[in-house]
Symmetry: C2
Subunit: 408 residues, 2 copies
């Protein structure tokens, strides 16, 4: 299977009317994608293993001994890959580009006659976007212990279905979910290739970059109370309209982020009862905020918390990830390889997007990322795109890096 | 079946976790309520007829001739009733109080040995709240010609199901839907009893009122465009965030309504794509505005339309109903009857809520309303309530009025 053929395979799965994708964790679409990944691993003779959160690892190791033996002997493996799920109406590249490029890299190494001296895995992380249960990188958070299994299993989707119920419905055992030191011990390094989600590479005129760090970022849930009542018969002065506080949050988020050099977004809202002629009795808004400076992000959120307090809101931090620096020696090595092997002078870019590589890095696993040029900078949208030549350049770069990592 | 027994019958149907009701047009809950109404008509020997929108009419007429014969001879009937559907998480009284009181009134008249000289109908209007398809009073609007069948059938619910599809799924024939002059010719007068949706009667210390008019009121859909993109990686200055215009609408609606002595509410919103980490590419907000003065309501909406224009929004008027004055001679007659028969000095109150009685009045059918005291003024909420004594006082009043109307 060439890169292009794999890409074609994935194109119809979970495609929405918008032209974007709706591939949410533990749904039928997710199942199709997982089966596809497993088949691609089998086709290449990779040993498929699932960890305690259901992340899929396809290992290439001809020994001596098992992958665990190698790790125990100080020769832990290299993992490459990303995720296959999407945000609602997300693009085709965010996630799948890394998985398909990783599988294509295995093919390139084989075609070049490479025999790895270290185990090599292709990985598909589950539930990276958190689109269904609200917490991003749930797959890597749980196995690294960054999120407890109790909290993960109790998360609910928009229909009130808990992750535990969704796992059961998908034929899985929720009680097996938990941190998985054994699975992580096999991973001596992780390299995630990802489409860039900004205009850094376009502006530089280069197809591939190495990541420096991930901005501090978090999600907060703002619950505004109100009192349901008739929209026609209730005097303005008698109202407790939960929507007013929400609207103030939306406008406040933009203003405070602008003042502090951060970004802040309210992209999701839930209204009760949600009738045109009923005053809202409850409005929940979700704030996403990030920025290069941790203190400024924190100050933005605190200011919004204080504003929302005037409306009686309660604010819950659903996730918080401090600045994540990728492994410097590993990142430097990737840049050196690309300079010498591919004659690519590769820039170093920070990013406002969270990734499983960031969660693994925070858990002490040497991790790095490669970004592939995005001609518009648009992502999390049907318009997300990468030129095919740049995708192939990404595979070239990943192949060069992995060949270096597994043959020394 | 006493009032209390009928009330008990209805209590569990469509009850939501909130304690309120979710009884939407052409759903399973609606079907249960329609079957219940039909059974109550049969139990009383009323002749059940459906008009071309599926509104249910249970006629009591012992002749001479048919109800149509009587109408043709200038002896058209009296109709009493209301609706059984609800807003999302609405109360138990808005609608059902009028239907149950009408059925109880038939029982009272029979117990008193009354034999009507005019046909008498109990009516259950379908889809009064417009909770599912967005247009209130759809049942009465279609049969009176205030809404074309083409427009009604093309309305869609939140899942994209059209009213035509919903009717078909409910085993009905959408092609039969249309204005129904024949059904309306039978109705010489309509009296709708309804729980009050404000604090007028509480403040006056009286259980029952007669309605004067319905404020001009309407619904407008505001569509704000944006561009989906990643909430973490897109610079503020590169964003087109559809949520900002929406938030401005919410706050603007409150401000403009306050300035102009109207009410304005944004109780429903839909966001695309609706992910926490995606900038909204489209936000739709629904505005409900009403007030005692038509020009001021219009000016409020125009000001909001102009504000929304700065955000590139398109604004669609989904419904508009001018001031509706109830029939003066009929209303005066009801007050006279209540003063002489029940020794009730009945106040006259206006209302900001739309009703099927308003649609019939606008179509030239002499119509009037009775309001029953609401101790909190709250409606469209699980807390909506009327004391049982006041409900019975409502039935007393309706019985006195109807006895007078059908025996002269």
């Amino acid at each position: 299977m060439t890169f292009d053929a794999m890409w074609q395979d994935l194109e119809p799965v979970g495609r929405a009317q918008s032209g974007g994708y709706r591939r949410f964790a533990w749904t039928g679409e997710d199942h199709t994608l997982r089966e596809w990944f497993a088949a691609e691993c089998r086709r290449r003779g990779l040993d498929l293993a699932e960890d305690r959160m259901g992340n899929q690892w396809g290992w290439w190791w001809d020994g001596p001994g098992t992958v665990d033996d190698a790790a125990a002997a100080g020769n832990s493996g290299v993992a490459i890959g990303s995720h296959l799920d999407s945000v609602p109406d997300g693009g085709a590249y965010d996630g799948p580009l890394g998985v398909v490029s990783a599988l294509a890299t295995v093919d390139r190494l084989r075609a070049a006659g490479v025999r790895p001296d270290r185990p090599l895995a292709v990985v598909n992380f589950v539930d990276e976007e958190g689109a269904r249960f609200g917490v991003a990188c749930a797959g890597s958070r749980v196995i690294t212990g960054a999120m407890t299994p109790e909290r993960a299993l109790a998360l609910t989707d928009a229909e009130g279905v808990s992750m535990a119920e969704a796992l059961t419905a998908a034929g899985r055992d929720p009680s097996a979910v938990g941190p998985d030191a054994e699975a992580l011990r096999r991973v001596g390094a992780f390299v995630e290739l990802h489409v860039e989600q900004g205009r850094g590479l376009v502006d530089l005129g280069v197809p591939v970059a190495v990541a420096s760090d991930i901005w501090p970022h978090g999600r907060w849930r703002f619950d505004f109370p109100g009192e349901a009542n008739h929209a026609g018969t209730t005097r303005l002065e008698d109202r407790q309209d939960a929507m007013l506080g929400y609207a103030d949050l939306v406008l406040g988020a933009r203003k405070e982020a602008q003042l502090r050099g951060c970004v802040a977004t309210v992209g999701k809202v839930a209204v009760t009862p949600g009738g045109v002629n009923a005053i809202p009795s409850h409005v929940t808004g979700w704030l996403d905020s990030r920025g290069p400076d941790e203190d400024e992000v924190r100050a933005t959120v605190e200011e919004l918390r204080s504003r929302a307090g005037h409306f009686g809101a309660t604010v819950t931090e659903e996730s918080w990830t401090a600045t994540t620096r990728f492994d410097q020696p590993l990142s430097d090595r990737l840049r050196d390889v690309l300079a010498s092997e591919a004659e690519l002078s590769v820039p170093v870019l920070g990013t406002g997007a969270g990734h499983d590589a960031g969660i693994l890095a925070a858990a002490g696993i040497p991790s790095a990322m490669l970004f592939v040029r995005n001609p518009t900078g648009i992502s999390h949208s049907p318009e997300e795109f990468a030129e095919r030549d740049d995708c192939h350049a990404g595979v070239d770069a990943l192949t060069a890096c992995v060949q270096d990592l597994v043959t020394r």
